[in-house]
């Protein structure tokens, strides 16, 4: 029990100065997380409070560290694909694609148009799925429950599409080095189009619940403002960077997978506060739908894997069982892994959460010598010690919600 102090009231104005120190109280230290609904996973924030205002914030990460980089050094390139599902587990398809492309760049492999189109399509669907979760959960953090229900219903439909395509709702492991696991099923593209058609009105309805919602605006506008300079200095990427007003989208600036063939806009914020981050995400969903429609409109025919990459992509199963050459080829790829040249490669792609990069050092053979994963959430979170001080404790929920991070990716 704290000791009770007697303070005579009398002339408060005259005493205000002399009693100031006594009335000041102590700074309070508070832990948010590692297991707290605000932190969307296992982030822990150690904060010092002066009343309701944060004076110091130290994020403590690593609770979900699984040693993915060490694991990668000990298995063949294809065996690592399922581990990429578990990085940003909100958008596993986008991780699969980025990882496969990094390895293919090491091999100098060109992909046929159909394979690129499939990959681009699933990346954009993953982006929609990720941003829908981002928006829904963010609304929930700010006290708006309804959008969450809407967006989760929509994500469920996307999961259905993913399951049909990859066999799994969540951990898709869809790509292989040199292609994808299987071609799109019959009629699937039409079902994706149907999803887009029925999704847009629902998206409008959902965003209507937030965009001009007085309470939501009051809680997010002007909160957690990141300046352009800070955003660059701290290596923020993705929608969080674009909300600050910096027009960096690798899909436009360093096009891969044929992004340059499609028309889409890159939404950019003006103030860099929590509200802008929401607006950017909402608009990106609309742009992704625009891209998806264009891709399906001109969906190329042909192979869904690199046919000339005999030492990298596994042959079809029926050929393995009937032909000697394919049997050996299959055996070699399974046991030794895809044949890669020696070298170093660093590949980055615009993932839903930001720029995901893979740095691969190869000494040849089927196992990487070193693989570093540059995860966007890790970099985005590193700004918290700079961003939090000065804001209210109650703003932490919207602040973290607006950054839209995933701890599986941050801790790897």
């Amino acid at each position: 029990m704290a000791e009770t102090k007697e303070i005579s009231i009398g002339d408060m104005g005259a005493r205000a100065g002399s009693y100031h120190d006594e009335l000041q109280g102590e700074d309070m230290e508070i832990n948010v997380g590692p297991s707290h609904p605000t932190t969307h996973g296992v982030l822990r924030l150690l904060m010092e409070l002066d009343g309701d205002i944060i004076t110091k914030c130290e994020p403590i990460v690593g609770y979900l560290h699984r040693g993915d980089e060490k694991i990668a050094e000990n298995m063949t390139y294809n065996q690592f694909v399922p581990y990429t599902d578990r990085l940003d587990y909100i958008a596993p398809l986008a991780n699969n694609v980025t990882y496969a492309m990094a390895v293919e760049q090491l091999a100098g492999l060109e992909l046929p148009p159909r394979c690129q189109a499939i990959r681009l399509l699933v990346t954009e669907l993953a982006r929609i799925s990720s941003h829908l979760l981002g928006i829904g959960v963010y609304g929930m953090d700010a006290g708006a429950w309804t959008p969450f229900m809407y967006t989760f219903t929509e994500r469920e439909k996307l999961y259905g599409l993913f399951e049909e395509l990859t066999g799994a709702r969540f951990t898709t492991s869809y790509t292989r080095i040199g292609g994808v696991a299987r071609d799109v099923p019959e009629g699937w593209l039409q079902r994706v189009l149907d999803f887009c058609d029925q999704h847009l009105p629902i998206l409008e309805e959902t965003t209507k619940l937030l965009t001009r919602n007085r309470i939501f605006m009051d809680r997010t506008e002007g909160v957690g403002v990141i300046s352009k300079e800070d955003a660059l200095a701290y290596g923020i990427t993705g929608p969080n960077l674009r909300a600050c007003g910096i027009d960096l989208d690798l899909r436009k600036d360093r096009p891969y997978l044929g992004y340059d063939q499609y028309e889409f806009d890159v939404p950019v914020g003006t103030t860099g506060d929590c509200y802008d981050r929401y607006l950017v995400r909402a608009e990106e969903v609309r742009q992704s739908i625009r891209i998806v429609r264009q891709v399906i409109k001109n969906f190329p025919d042909g192979a869904w894997y690199a046919e000339d990459a005999k030492k990298i992509y596994k042959p079809a199963k029926d050929k393995v069982l009937t032909s000697m050459e394919e049997l050996i080829q299959n055996f070699m790829i399974v046991t030794e892994g895809p044949r890669m040249p020696a070298g170093e490669v660093y590949f980055e792609a615009e993932n839903p959460k930001g720029i995901l990069g893979f740095f691969i050092v190869s000494k040849g053979g089927g196992v990487p010598y070193r693989m570093k994963i540059r995860s966007p959430s890790f970099c985005n979170l590193s700004i918290l010690p700079k961003l939090c001080p000065g804001s209210y404790l109650s703003d932490i929920t919207v602040l973290l919600g607006s950054l839209d991070f995933v701890m599986g990716e941050c801790d790897r």
């Binding site: 200095a233 030794e336 892994g337 660093y346 980055e348 740095f359 053979g365 089927g366 890790f378």
Partner: protein
Amino acid sequence: MNEIVESLQPRFAGIKPRESSDHPAIQCPVGFILPLIECLRDEFDYKLLSDVTAVDWGEEESPRFSVVYHIFSIKAAAHIRIVADCEDDENPSVPSIVSLFPAANWHERETYDMFGIRFEGHPDLRRILMWDEYPYYPLRKEFPLAGIETELPDAEIAEETRAKVLAAPMMGGPFVAKEGEPMSRSEPRAKDQSWTEWSKKTLEEE
């Protein structure tokens, strides 16, 4: 591709172009890291630090550790790779670039955590992913994949529960063929079949 490297060479004696198939790459002596990166940031518009990491080339190699920086230029939409070999193999260290890029703070802490490379001048060089008292550097090549038995981070809990951080039961895995070996040895066999979940691995074998 290496025009930048050529234009920088007169100013920083000792930097060399590094072999690379994707981005321009510079092999840089440790002493030039700070001025070189500052010059790239201010004069060549490399303003977004993508990544700082390290590579362990193996216990027998010297130099054993290389620190690798990737910096992105938004204007040119291009990366540059800078590689610095640490001079000391036992106690590797490089200068910290946190003063130039605050983003390097966590990257350098992670590299220190995983490789034990010290970043001189870093404001707060602590472990970031592993807990502070952890005694090993997990991404060094001699560290086994299964992990090493270690004390729990909290002494009080350790005493109460008598639990330890245990090596993963991998039944002698991982089940991968080693690269570059003949077919007969390339089948996916366990690297070490002497231990399973039921017969524990003894410490000497590490």
